[in-house]
Point group: C2
Chain length 217, copies 2
DNA sequence: ACCAAAGCCGGGAAAATTTCACGACGTTGC
DNA sequence: GCAACGTCGTGAAATTTTCCCGGCTTTGGT
């Protein structure tokens, strides 16, 4: 009896690639495909696959959020994130959201297959490059924003990256613009960056701001 | 006699996908694969394929640069860019660099096949979503940085996005910090953004700063 | 050759922002 | 109770951003 798999990726040609690699393996069967997070959630509920292979950057609700929802629906769901992002920050977020594995698309097919088997066997699978990244970021001691910032500070950071002016943020947060400016300054201090530009770059590296967010502005 | 194709993408599983879709078409034959720009250039010279299908975001020299080099070697080279980036900015850059087509990975396989045929027939192929984006950005009148900025201003912008302080830039450019500050201000004005954060976001949208640049800092 | 337009470089001063020091208040945990 | 911490805000100094200016060189048209 073979394991059933749900593929989630917004690039149809890429799904074709997964399929071709996975179906060469005996004991694996792709039973459904989804092109975005919402569809993935629906299909998971109706098809109850043994494993979900999920991309992160997708239109609508992203992969992280999809992972969260699926895990909420089924605490035992096995989800393997397979994405182009080689950022340790994304991996941390994905695992915290409930993923059981994280493999980058640059990995050779064997690594993906291996990870699929590991996750099906109940193990946690992380591809070697991310292992290495995580180790490095540990050594470098780069402050991982989500950790070092207080909830309020993190909120302000998110708004700074998304919204525009200090005033607007003060408005939506119902505090004085002065406070926002103070927080803004404190955040840059805590994160060890000197300019707003560095701030945005750090946020991108850590996956606080994703490429997908860029369209709206 | 079938047309020969060189596939370039750093994700091996994705190449698998191209292959599977393309080889269903009679008259197409994938004769080589490359995982980065440099390898693509080498293989183009040795294999002389009829068509190159190229991803943009790759380690080492990126896709745009690879396009430029290949076209320099062979003015008649037919290159079709196939990428995840749905930014009109990237498309503009790619076409200017000498690509004959631009298709996003979200497009259905038929669109890719169609574009391949069109480019082989000597036409320029742009996928519908990018057509639409281009139209929109025209209507919105968003200043396309590369156009509205003078060479010097563009240089400063690049340094602002990459380096750090005003002083450092003044240093490497051999001008006074004051000038850099003035240009910085002028750039934001010309581009119609209010804050540095908006500036970075616009740069990302237009492909001036790519995700790949983020690792170095 | 001349002029106009545009790019490049920076000074100076006003305006805005960032930063720092400080205090108040509520919560949490020992 | 009290120390530690997060949150919010003020005020004043330091810095940056912005605006306005003039001089300089290059380019292109007449």
């Amino acid at each position: 009896m073979s394991a059933t798999i749900l593929l989630v990726d917004d690039h149809s040609v890429v799904r074709e690639g997964y399929r071709s690699v996975l179906e060469k393996q005996p004991g694996l069967r792709v039973i459904a495909e989804a092109g975005d997070g919402a569809e993935a959630y629906r299909l998971f509920k109706s098809e109850a696959p043994d494993l979900v292979i999920m991309d992160l950057s997708m239109p609508g609700i992203g992969g992280i959020e999809a992972v969260r929802r699926i895990r909420q629906w089924d605490k035992a769901a096995k989800i393997l994130v397979f994405t182009m992002h080689e950022n340790a920050g994304f991996a941390v977020q994905a695992i915290r959201a409930g993923a059981r594995g994280y493999v980058t698309k640059t990995s050779p097919p064997e690594t993906l297959v291996r990870a699929v088997m590991d996750v099906l066997a109940g193990k946690i699978a992380i591809s070697p490059d991310i292992d290495h990244e995580l180790a490095l970021s540990r050594l470098a001691g780069e402050s991982s924003a989500a950790d070092v910032l207080t909830p309020r500070e993190f909120e302000v950071l998110r708004l700074l990256l998304a919204e525009n002016t200090t005033e607007e943020i003060a408005e939506t947060l119902h505090v004085s613009p002065k406070t926002v400016a103070n927080l803004h300054s404190l955040i840059k201090d805590k994160l060890g960056v000197g300019s707003d530009i560095e701030l945005v770059r750090l946020a991108l590296r850590q996956g606080i701001l994703t490429d997908a967010d860029l369209g709206e502005a």
